[in-house]
Amino acid sequence: MSLRAWRASVHKEFLLLLHDWHALLLLFVMPLAFLVIMSLAMQDEFAQRAGQKLTVAVIDHDDTPASRAFVAAIATSETVAVRNASGDGSVKQQMHDAGDAFGIEIKKGYERALPQAAAPVSERIVLFVAPDTTRQTELIFAGTLREILARERLTAILGPLAVLSRGGAGGFDAANSQPAIEYTYEAKNGAQAPSAVQQNVPAWLVFGTFFVVIPLSNTLIRERQQGTLKRLRTMPVGQGTLLLGKLAPYFFVNIVQVVLMMAAGVWLVPALGGEALQLHGSMLALAIVCATLSVAALGYALLISAITRTTEQASLLGGAGNLILAAIGGIMVPKFVMPEAMQQMTNASPMAWGLQGFLDVLLRGGGPGEVLPEAAALLTFGVATLAIAWALLKRAVG
């Protein structure tokens, strides 16, 4: 291989890329925009999924053993955290200021009304719902409150037999009645569900790397259409040298994309009010995932270049192909919210392998051994597509 010719090809590809502002926007700005927007927009959704509790502001005007028992019963729930609000001022205002999902006001006379059928105790409890609390959450929480209230009422009526209803040995124990929950996606290594930024940084990063298909295919197709490739074939330079000279700059672009996206997750997203990306795990493992992901993206890009004849066809096929790979690969919709059958389908997308590799490192602190299956799959896909594309291009150019 002629090093001089290779260096010239690399230099030429960089110049072509630098002159192509559309491609640069597509490669860097588009995934960055997705990353930031989705990380910020979905952080509440991911926070709930990740086990963060909803806060409930409670104002207890009754302040009796019964009202305190009611509040304590609410606090035993795994899904809510009780915040004792100040008795002064409206509950609504305090909820708004603190960002609570619910507010509960216990009026005076709660304890007295509890055992009486004539004065419904429900009139002594007011539930406030924040405007951004979903209807589904509201219904679940209201149902929980009804259940607690019924139990407290039963306790007040039965008196000494309270042990049957409020727990204790052989009694009704909410914690013991809780069914076991298994997260099919996040159960590995007992790790937690990803936060919005932990999901979105690697997801949109993987998505962005595959968009090298647009500039790479466009330059290659133009070279074919304008006879430049044929001219190069008549020159004393190997096709392998030319191909490596073409791919190397895009490999570098992929690495820069990864670094920029990670940096955006660490610094930009928190600066805009989101959660910061925590870089766990082995840097070597991260480098392995990056490198093999790039090989897969380049193979895909070269294959699209080889099977299309015009830049329009390549842009359409490459772009649409990326969207489909992203949709089934858990980029747009996180894998763990998909039904089981769809989760199985994600394994068909190389984007899913890349995402899984990043999550293994960033979320679960994995090392090179943990990312080996995904890296091997990406490398195999990349080498296979490169080989097919190489054969097709040789045939097309002569």
Partner: protein
């Protein structure tokens, strides 16, 4: 003083190109693109390669330049057999394709620098070769503009300049003047003649017969993958000329149509006329034209035009060997 691009001597005995029984068939094609094609191109001459679209010219250029591998036959370049392993032979030649085979988003200089590097030239060599090619193609004023902003003529000149970077001994020019204005065309033709004078062998394809007629020392015609003619240009024009009187007037004159009608005159734009006249009646015709007040830019008798020969050849098929003898 600038150095010549090539040092080949016009008097060299070894032909620049020798092709013997070449054959090539594309995959899935019903008929071969080339079949049993043999010819030689003397060194430091311009060799015209003619033929209708799809005749096999591009395939032949591909085989000669090494971008295609011959399936049958043998090619010898400067006395050395061309095979897959003789990549260095590619260093002796260059192809200037019909397409603008360069990068339009790069400047002229960036293009020259890139293609110069592909030839494996050192920085100093590259700089010297680039300057020489720039000088020949007169691109000095345009080097820092993007090639996509060039006019058609400038693009042709850049296309040619790239082909000169390796100082080729053999230059393949595939329709180098298509789609450009008369001035740029003249410039390219003069540059081609200049390269020949420096000893470069040129294989020239074009659909413009007057160009081929003016530039080429010998000509070959390919039709349906077979070589139907190869001959020295002068011999061909004289032999096929017969009783043809051709002249080009200084100014177009439509009134000549009636005057020359008895001689079956044909014309191009009432300026270039062809008349079939037996030699015995030549004085009569010349006298007629003189009385009419015709003034000539060019006048020749017994010499045919290449275009006529070419069209006749394609219409009636390949001439019999005895007819060409």
């Amino acid at each position: 003083m600038t150095q010549p691009l090539s040092t080949a001597s016009p008097a060299q005995a070894v032909p620049a190109i020798s092709a013997r029984a070449l054959g090539y068939r594309y995959a899935d094609a019903a008929a071969p693109a080339l079949e049993d094609v043999s010819f030689t191109v003397p060194a430091a001459e311009i060799f015209g390669l003619l033929g209708p679209n799809g005749a096999g010219k591009s395939t032949l250029l591909g085989l000669l330049s090494g971008s295609l591998d011959a399936q049958d036959g043998e090619i010898t370049i400067a006395g050395e057999k061309l095979t897959k392993r003789t990549r260095h032979i590619k260093s002796l030649s260059a192809v200037v394709p019909q397409e603008y085979a360069f990068y339009e988003s790069l400047t002229g200089r960036q293009n020259l620098d890139y293609f110069g590097s592909i030839f494996g030239l050192s920085r100093a060599e590259r700089a010297a070769r680039c300057e020489r090619a720039i000088e020949i193609c007169r691109l000095e004023q345009h080097l820092n503009r993007r090639a996509g902003q060039y006019s058609g003529g400038l693009k042709r000149r850049l296309n040619l300049a790239i082909g000169l970077l390796n100082a080729p001994k053999i230059l393949y020019l595939d329709e180098p003047t298509v789609g450009i204005d008369a001035e740029s065309r003249r410039f390219i033709m003069d540059a081609v003649l200049g390269l020949k004078a420096l000893g470069t062998t040129i294989v020239y394809t074009s659909h413009y017969m007057e160009e081929v007629e003016e530039l080429c020392d010998s000509v070959a015609v390919i039709d349906q993958g077979r070589l139907v003619l190869q001959e020295r240009m002068g011999n061909l024009l004289r032999r096929e000329g017969g009783q043809s009187l051709q002249f080009t007037l200084h100014e177009p004159d439509a009134s000549l149509a009636a005057l020359l009608a008895p001689f079956g005159a044909t014309h191009v734009d009432y300026r270039t006329w062809t008349v079939i006249v037996p030699s015995a009646r030549m004085p009569e015709v010349l006298s007629l034209l003189q009385r009419h007040g015709a003034t000539f830019d060019r006048l020749q008798y017994g010499v045919s035009r290449l275009e006529k020969i070419y069209l006749d050849l394609l219409l009636r098929g390949a001439p019999q060997p005895e007819a060409l003898a």
